[in-house]
């Protein structure tokens, strides 16, 4: 009852000098707005990275070869081979799809232009694992794959570069001295966290090794494994490691000459980056909130001095110390929560603006708004405590004699 009365009195006092209240609470306002905007940025970024990683495929594992140091000497890796991929396909029950992959950024020539794009050699499992789909034309046939035919599939960005405004199916491109026939186009997939997934040309890996980089004969750069399910990602990783350690004759005490990364580990990496960034910005916000809190404390101390006589009157007519303390605490809480509410409003405007004009992906979460409001309340309590106690400890006679 008393608390409610104090709050009502406090809001009445605030509304009487709203400009001063606004200025006092500016620090809290900005701090709260910063917290909410930063969190919105973080939430938006995480969701975007999440959906981008999702677009790459599901439950993916990436196997790379990696040079190792053995007994002090740096030994070149043996690399990964078609044989490794076949062994995984055969012996790892947790693996659903196993694809081989090589790529290089190269200059590609068409009748209409000459552009650099990603030239990728893959086997037919790759499209399934990475969820690429053929949009126009057709996929290459098993016999074309076997024959190392000079056929390619082309992504949407590469089409814009090489065949602007045209249907590329049936056209030819030249890579180095070899002409390739475009037999199909890929459905657009958009951005991954690393690259534009549509800026690429796919061909059978045999053709790639024969015409693009003959030094890679029999080898693969990357083995892409899609696990049976989310829960099978870890078992698949263990099975792949066991198979490759055995095939590469790695001793018990030696490190792997290959690395297996899960899609999830990329996501964790990205989140760590955003985490550091958010922490930095939140520190700035916390400092702003602190400064705001000190400002509120200062104004409350001034207010206690200005209203010493009022405090004396209230005490004379029966206010107990707790009544006075609650009154001033309520005022500082009213001030900071007022700042908090305006701060959330400002944040909403900023988030809306960044989304509309800069196209940033942001999302204001309810929990961040709640957190910001709770924080502004807590700041009012903490920084209002000292002034409120000072008011409550005044002597009624001296307070009445003040001025």
């Amino acid at each position: 009852m008393r608390l409610f009365t104090s709050l009502a009195i406090a809001y009445a006092a605030l509304s009487r000098s709203w400009l001063r209240s606004l200025l006092t609470t500016l620090g809290v306002l900005i701090g709260v707005a910063a917290v909410v905007v930063v969190t919105a940025l973080g939430t938006g970024a995480r969701e975007r990275v999440g959906s981008q990683i999702e677009s790459m495929g599901t439950n993916l594992l990436f196997v790379w070869s990696q040079p190792i140091a053995r007994s002090g000497l740096r030994v070149a890796s043996f690399g990964l081979t078609d044989g490794d991929a076949q062994a995984i396909r055969r012996e790892a029950p947790a693996a659903a799809l196993v694809a081989t992959y090589c790529d290089q950024k190269l200059s590609v020539v068409s009748a209409y232009g000459n552009e650099r794009t990603d030239v990728v050699g893959v086997d037919s499992h790759y499209l399934g694992a990475r969820r690429f789909e053929v949009q126009g034309g057709r996929m290459w046939t098993p016999s074309e794959e076997l024959m190392k035919a000079k056929v390619v599939l082309i992504g949407q960005t590469a089409i814009e570069k090489l065949f602007p405004g045209r249907d590329p199916v049936g056209e030819y491109i030249r890579i180095g001295k070899h002409p390739f026939r475009v037999i199909g186009t890929l459905k657009p997939k958009g951005q991954s966290p690393f690259e534009d997934q549509d800026d690429r040309i796919l061909m059978p890996i045999g053709s790639w090794r024969a015409r693009v980089d003959p030094t890679m004969a029999g080898k693969v750069e990357l083995i892409l494994v899609s696990a049976q399910s989310a829960s099978q990602v870890e078992p698949a990783k263990r099975q792949i490691e066991a198979i490759l350690r055995q095939r590469h004759r790695i001793q018990e005490d030696e490190e792997n000459d290959f690395a297996v990364h899960s899609q999830e580990s990329f996501q964790r990496g990205q989140e760590a980056v955003y985490g550091v960034l958010s922490l930095l910005l939140l520190t700035v916000a916390a400092i702003s909130l602190m400064v705001g809190g000190v400002g509120v404390m200062n104004i409350m101390l001034v207010s206690v001095t200005e209203r010493t006589r009022e405090i004396g009157v209230r005490m004379a007519i029966g206010a107990r110390r707790l009544d006075i303390q609650l009154q001033f605490l309520a005022e500082s809480v009213a001030l900071t929560s007022f700042g908090g509410i305006l701060g959330v409003g400002l944040a909403a405007v900023v988030v809306w603006g960044l989304k509309a004009w800069l196209g940033w992906s942001m999302r204001m979460s309810g929990s961040s708004v709640l957190l910001a409001l709770t924080t502004s309340l807590a700041i009012g309590l903490v920084f209002g405590f000292l002034p409120a106690r000072r008011a409550a400890n005044l002597d009624p006679i001296e307070a009445l004699r003040h001025e």
Partner: protein, 245 residues
């Protein structure tokens, strides 16, 4: 049983290295329904006495019984409750809260008593009506004359129905006519409600309105006399003539 019983009350103030003995061995009994004027030179100890009577301060020595209860050693919060329940204050400088309506000012003691908003409003309106300000409920102190402000203050002192009203130079800031008006109001309250009033004043004509005059000198009670025939403030007003404001 007297409403106020002071026995051997002393009050010291530490003023630098010296001790100022503001009150020395004061014995005083005031019964219910008395109208007591306290007079004396400036610095004689009148305000010190009033602060002790009002439970705003504690005596250094001696005991103070208010309505039969010893309040001299009570804590600050306990004294706040005693003030709220038993005492109404009227100050020289009115001491209304600025930028706050007359009604809200009068409601304030009831807020600290925990009275519900509706009952507060009803009782504050009644108290303001009793002092003749029923038509000024929404006015802030700045919109009221000095006499009106002091009447709001009296309404605030009376709204809790206390047995005792203490007034330290309540007419000090008022002209003669308004002084008499305030006094007439207090006399009527003593007569009609059996209220006890203790009032500090410099002016002999005001003191003459009281039923008893206590003279303080140098921290002691020098004289304590009952007035056979107190002046009626209402008559003084009539003698002044002219239209009341």
């Amino acid at each position: 049983m007297a409403l106020i019983e002071l026995s051997k009350v002393g009050k010291d103030y530490a003023s630098g290295p010296e001790v100022v003995r503001a009150l020395k061995e004061v014995d005083l009994e005031i019964g219910a329904g008395e109208f007591v004027a306290v007079i004396g030179a400036s610095g004689s100890g009148k305000s010190t006495l009033m602060n002790i009577l009002g439970c705003l301060d504690r005596p250094t020595r001696g005991s103070y019984r208010l309505a039969g209860v010893d309040v001299s050693g009570r804590s600050a919060d306990a004294r706040a409750i005693v003030r709220n329940r038993l005492i109404g204050f009227v100050f020289q400088g009115f001491n209304l809260l600025p930028r706050t309506t007359a009604l809200e000012n009068v409601e304030l003691p009831l807020v600290y008593r925990g009275v519900s908003a509706r009952a507060r409003r009803r009782r504050a309106i009644a108290a303001l009506a009793k002092v003749g300000l029923a038509d000024r409920l929404g006015h802030s102190p700045a919109q009221l004359s000095g006499g009106q402000q002091q009447r709001v203050a009296i309404a605030r002192a009376l709204v809790t129905d206390p047995p005792l009203v203490l007034a330290d130079e309540p007419t000090g800031n008022l002209d003669t006519r308004t002084s008499y008006e305030v006094l007439a109001l207090l006399q009527a309250l003593v007569r009609d409600r059996g209220l006890t009033v203790v009032l500090v004043t410099h002016e002999p004509d005001i003191a003459a309105c009281a039923s008893r005059v206590v003279t303080v000198r140098d921290g002691r009670i020098q004289a304590d006399e009952r007035t056979a025939e107190p002046t009626r403030a209402a008559r003084l007003l009539e003698e002044l003539g002219g239209a009341p404001e």
